[in-house]
């Protein structure tokens, strides 16, 4: 009986059809994150990936051996081809974001991101890793089923109706799984570290000059507060890794997680990581709630524009 209910739960979780709207929204944000990442790298494309980069391709292959999916190993090592690869990646990420030839562009963006990461593994942060692994599972997802140019084309050709058809969410679940695992693995690793258990880890981090962005309030720097916040961070990582799957807790945890990442973005200099991780939060929001939020924004903006038009009319 238990085995049967496990398989039923498994099937419902991975295969019961759901609205692809959260996935469509994630695809849009994901594309923007990839564009932002590549744009921030733009001044140093040649320094990190060019023929005379900080680490040459043969050195990279010697330090990190193994057969790797890496387009750089196949293209000519010249400025032109490296530039071409980056511009191609940017164009593909833009197409992915708007949902044009979605599946193909998912594949291209993943290939390009993986190649860029593999070409220089010494400069990667967690955000790059998350984009790469999420990109892998996005290839298998119906990412163009909603909020995409592909859907508009299908409607225009009469192959799709006005109603968005629900889809099997198994690939979306894998991206959600990756996000939950990111937190849970972080928690497990922290539990093994003495500074985290003793509550001093955050104090060390805030004393690292290279990480500091904006000043934090002085009351926050009190040892007792830092200790509590260190433990809170660990507890939150556990909850976001495990309890996020419990529907009753989900939105509260997402809200706390959002505030937590915004605080990290304010205080620590780790560009893009917080935004890359936050991008996947939309996958945990119900499509009905997203639609409600969208309708609320639309009605507000319509009221705002109507008010603006009336005021302008009076002024004339």
């Amino acid at each position: 009986m238990r085995t049967k209910s496990f398989f039923e739960a498994w099937n419902t979780f991975f295969f019961a059809e759901e609205s692809p709207i959260p996935l469509g929204l994630f695809r849009i944000i994901y594309g923007v994150m990839v564009i932002a990442t590549l744009t921030l790298l733009r001044p140093d494309w040649m320094a990190w990936y060019g023929p005379h980069a900080w680490v040459s391709l043969p050195s990279m292959q010697a330090v990190e051996p193994g057969t790797r999916l890496n387009v750089f190993a196949f293209i000519s090592q010249s400025d032109f081809w490296v530039h071409a690869l980056f511009w191609f990646s940017l164009a593909s990420a833009a197409c992915l974001s708007i949902g044009l030839l979605t599946r193909l562009n998912c594949l291209i963006v993943f290939l390009c991101l993986t190649s860029i990461d593999q070409r220089n593994l010494f400069i990667l942060h967690g955000g790059d890793t998350f984009l790469r692994v999420a990109g892998f599972f996005l290839i298998f997802a119906p990412a163009g089923a909603a909020l995409s140019v592909d859907r508009l084309i299908r409607i225009w050709r009469g192959k799709d109706g006005a109603e968005i058809r629900p889809r099997r969410p198994w690939a979306q679940r894998m991206i959600q799984f990756e996000l939950a695992l990111l937190y849970f693995a972080g928690f497990c690793s922290k539990v093994e570290g003495v500074p985290w258990v003793q509550g001093t880890a955050l104090s060390y981090m805030l004393n690292l000059d290279e990480l500091q962005r904006f000043p934090v309030p002085s009351w926050f720097l009190h040892p007792a507060v830092l200790k509590l916040v260190t433990w809170f961070a660990m507890a939150l990582e556990f909850c976001l890794g495990v309890l996020i799957w419990v529907k009753e807790f989900r939105y509260y945890l997402l809200a706390i997680g959002l505030v937590f990442h915004l605080c990290l973005e304010y205080s620590l200099n780790i560009p893009m990581f917080q935004w890359d991780v936050l991008s996947a939060y939309v996958l945990f929001i119900d499509a009905a709630d997203l639609e409600r939020a969208w309708n609320w924004i639309r009605s507000r903006s319509q009221r705002f524009w109507a008010f603006g038009t009336r005021t302008n009319g009076k002024a004339h």
Partner: protein
């Protein structure tokens, strides 16, 4: 039972959640494999079975780009401030010092663009990455502002200051220390 109902039943038996049976089985195999493999790869468990699984999936993970690590500032965050400078000796006997971009000296926007250097310096300082030190020194020698003066030698210097945890719970910084960790003789072909 009508013929249509029989056909419908037959179709249901062949399809699971709208998938052909082989598709359903293939997707499930994909899911089970990836959930187990990614968990084994990421979770800090040193059980011999997990280690064996990790080495078994390693070629696939390395190839596909699914390798991942989520040990953000853990188990032990960095306990010292450190940066790298390069001392360049020229043919005419003069020297200059070149510093990697230091986040604490950059503007907010520059921090966004140059943050990769923070991570790169961290990687250079790991002894396991000593194989890239010649590349780093060579790249410094090739920098346009230095190359024109015919550099002969590049010394890579790490400067560090420990963050000390005091008994009263406060933290102080130890005095700066420095160490030349790599010397490189620039070859003529390096500058071409």
């Amino acid at each position: 039972m009508t013929r249509a109902a029989e056909e419908g039943k037959g179709l249901r038996q062949k399809k699971v959640f709208g998938l052909k049976k082989w598709q359903y089985v293939a997707i499930n195999a994909f899911l089970v494999f990836h959930i187990l493999a990614i968990s084994c790869w990421c979770l800090p468990i040193s059980n011999p079975f997990i280690l064996a699984c990790r080495s078994a999936v390693r070629p696939y993970f390395v190839w596909s780009g699914l390798f991942q690590s989520w040990d953000m500032f853990s188990p032990v965050p960095k306990t010292m401030n450190a940066y790298i400078e390069a001392i360049i000796l020229y043919k005419d006997g003069s020297t200059t010092t070149w510093s990697f971009p230091r986040m604490e000296t950059l503007s907010l926007s520059d921090k966004y663009f140059e943050e990769r250097y923070r991570k790169f310096v961290e990687s250079i300082l790991a002894d396991s990455n000593s194989a890239i030190w010649p590349d780093v020194a060579r790249h410094v020698a090739r920098l346009p502002e230095l190359r024109a003066r015919d550099p002969q030698k590049v010394l890579l210097v790490v400067k560090w200051s420990d963050i000390v945890h005091n008994d009263d719970g406060t933290f102080t910084r130890a005095p700066w220390d420095e160490h030349v960790f790599y010397r490189y003789d620039v070859k003529p072909e390096d500058l071409q």
